[in-house]
Symmetry: C2
Amino acid sequence: MQTFIQQLTQVLGQKYILTQDQDKAPFLTDWRKRFSGKALAIVLPASTTEVARIVQLCAEYRIAIVPQGGHTGFCGGATPDSSGNQIVLNLKRMNRIHGVDIANQTITVEAGCILQAIQENAAAQGFLFPLSLGAEGSCMIGGNLATNAGGTNVLRYGNARDLCLGLEVVTAKGEVWNGLKGLRKDNTGYDLRDLFIGSEGTLGIITSAVMKLYPLPISQWTTLVATENVSATIALLNLFQKRATSLLTGFEMMTQESLALNAKHFPQLKNPLGDKTPFSILIELSDHESEAHVRQLLEGILEEAFAADIITDAVIANNLAQANTFWHMREHITLAQAEEGANLKHDITIPLSSLDKFISETDALMRSKFPGVRIINFGHLGDGNLHYNIAPPEGVDQKVFNLTYEKAIHELVYGQVERFHGSISAEHGVGQLKLADLRAHKGNVAHDLMKSLKQALDPQNILNPHKVVSI
Amino acid sequence: MQTFIQQLTQVLGQKYILTQDQDKAPFLTDWRKRFSGKALAIVLPASTTEVARIVQLCAEYRIAIVPQGGHTGFCGGATPDSSGNQIVLNLKRMNRIHGVDIANQTITVEAGCILQAIQENAAAQGFLFPLSLGAEGSCMIGGNLATNAGGTNVLRYGNARDLCLGLEVVTAKGEVWNGLKGLRKDNTGYDLRDLFIGSEGTLGIITSAVMKLYPLPISQWTTLVATENVSATIALLNLFQKRATSLLTGFEMMTQESLALNAKHFPQLKNPLGDKTPFSILIELSDHESEAHVRQLLEGILEEAFAADIITDAVIANNLAQANTFWHMREHITLAQAEEGANLKHDITIPLSSLDKFISETDALMRSKFPGVRIINFGHLGDGNLHYNIAPPEGVDQKVFNLTYEKAIHELVYGQVERFHGSISAEHGVGQLKLADLRAHKGNVAHDLMKSLKQALDPQNILNPHKVVSI
């Protein structure tokens, strides 16, 4: 071990290898404080060459590496295990933006760039970098790609995967694959890029990426709409998809119970639709023509929705400040939940055609088996993505409740997800949290294919072992 | 061999195993008659279960399988080798459309469905299935996915890859992976779907797919625009991207020399811009609002382009018939080339920011080294995708010319592609045609990764061996 650390020191210099407990601590626990581990050292490389050299040494000494960005994931993918034998390779020093290619509409960035810094850099040159999510002030693009992050703009622009045109990756052998050409069409062999994206650092370490940019919209209009039930909400989504098509950039659903939690903890965030509507839908249109054009389109669609009896009320934000308060309502649900302590989260996708039945059946089962629970159901409805979370009945101790019912509640929700052919992780990934559930969820054939891929690309099992898939 | 054929017969019935020369012949040569091979038998399964059983038998007897759809590829990926020891597994009997899911906006289809049949089925239910390419009347969706087909709608809707939400695949072991959920978000492990897409049947056999649908546009406007040079053309593209954004569904470039070939072989297809313009650009906008809206937008953008001196002339199609003649001009370039005999084709991508320099340098090199050649350069400029083809000087025998200069011309073009960090196969794939070029093009690291993947998923090398990558 001493020799290994000495050799690492030759690569990085002593300053960038943290071995003292107080220096290591900030890298060992995720931001939600749900996962915690130990590490031999935290290493902080500043270049791809240094990352490659570190991986070569780890391959030689058979030391496992946990790649880490902002450490804002939900599934413990970037937290080391408790052995103290792994190193954490944090990429925050690799935070250079290599610049915008205007004609090609791309931006090339290192893995340690903060998401918001990329958004701001692009905006300064007239472009939108559409990836947007709660943690954008601290998450890093390498982690966004490693987990194929989603967020609020997926409906229009896709996941992190869809925004990426190329990668640079350090392999398990410590070799560098340079796939940074930034081409929009390239059918020369297997899709290595998409294999590394979403593999959570288990097949290679992403060090740089070429990302797509889009022209900045010149006008955005946001509305809050009340619906009575899920099927009306989906009819509304389909109506917006048909009439606004790609101008539709947000379609977020919040249930009455979710907003009740907001009202309790953030009373300043009043729902302008009142507190009686079963479903409040946040809809955003973004336009590149004119404010008048998009406003007229939005009003026309809402009129049609009223006439078709699929909405009962609607409030259009009059200005940016009001639009922001609508978005704050949506974003504060997560914070309101946190105020109540850790609740039981399920980040799931259901095919839109089954969503109505899924919610009504699952809600009914949940309330009959666990009377009094609060179902905090909200999410990116346009993608079929629900955050279907369970909080204990009012007044019940959260820790005791979770300890007692966590397993049974997960089983109920995931059982329903399987029945409706959904996904048990829509956008948060697998990490260590869902490792054990994956074989049953994917089926043996898919799971064996995944194991074969891991075995092929990381035969020594040194890249983030026991995350996503164990070999 | 006899036992193998007997066992196949038990699976499929005699009728669907072709072993006589005259029955096999139609499956052994590609449509361009560029590649030809032999086969032990042609097998025609009607179900995924039958495909799986065939692969199991092939695995047992170590017989190589060449999966085949419409056999319309450009690179010989679906043509067997000359040994006569391979079987061709043609999927044309698997042509069921399992129906449109309206709320989810997806269509589930078997691999043997003709592309056009899928487009028509979707349109009958009010949806656009955007994949569109010259061979759409005979190519099949399984082949489109296996080669990640492109075409004219990639600019707005992406390649086949981007339109696919899920696959069913028979693995090299003869197991069935059912990944047909059709979810828009699913971060549960490695991206198996994208690994199979574009792998040209070398990692698994695609048997079914869930594809995305989009609302049908209600109005399309097509214009032909004259530009003086490549940099003006790219400025025009960027202007349309900024102002029309996702309404821009086509941006095709045709050089004067390409259209001269049309004029020679199809004189009825007159270029309304005349025969003097260096570049004729075909632009299509598609709208979901109204004819007036899109017409006004198009006129506004063209006015801005005139004012900025990036275009010299423009003709807007007055009706669908005229729009079709514009598209015919574009599509007939390929046919006009065929009239002259096989020319030397290069399906390449160059980053848009380097395209101007690439074309001027490569044209100059080509004309100085091979005086008198005709450079038939046209393509999906919006994607940076050129079909950079070389025809002999007027009056020179094509066969003799190709035999003499093919190697040197390919070397010149591909050398330039490498210098400008482009791709040697934008949308046509690798097949057998570019197998030998791939290692140098991809670099050792990427190529070794590909070999590891092939080795992992098809260790017996029975799935379309010596296509894409040899192990």
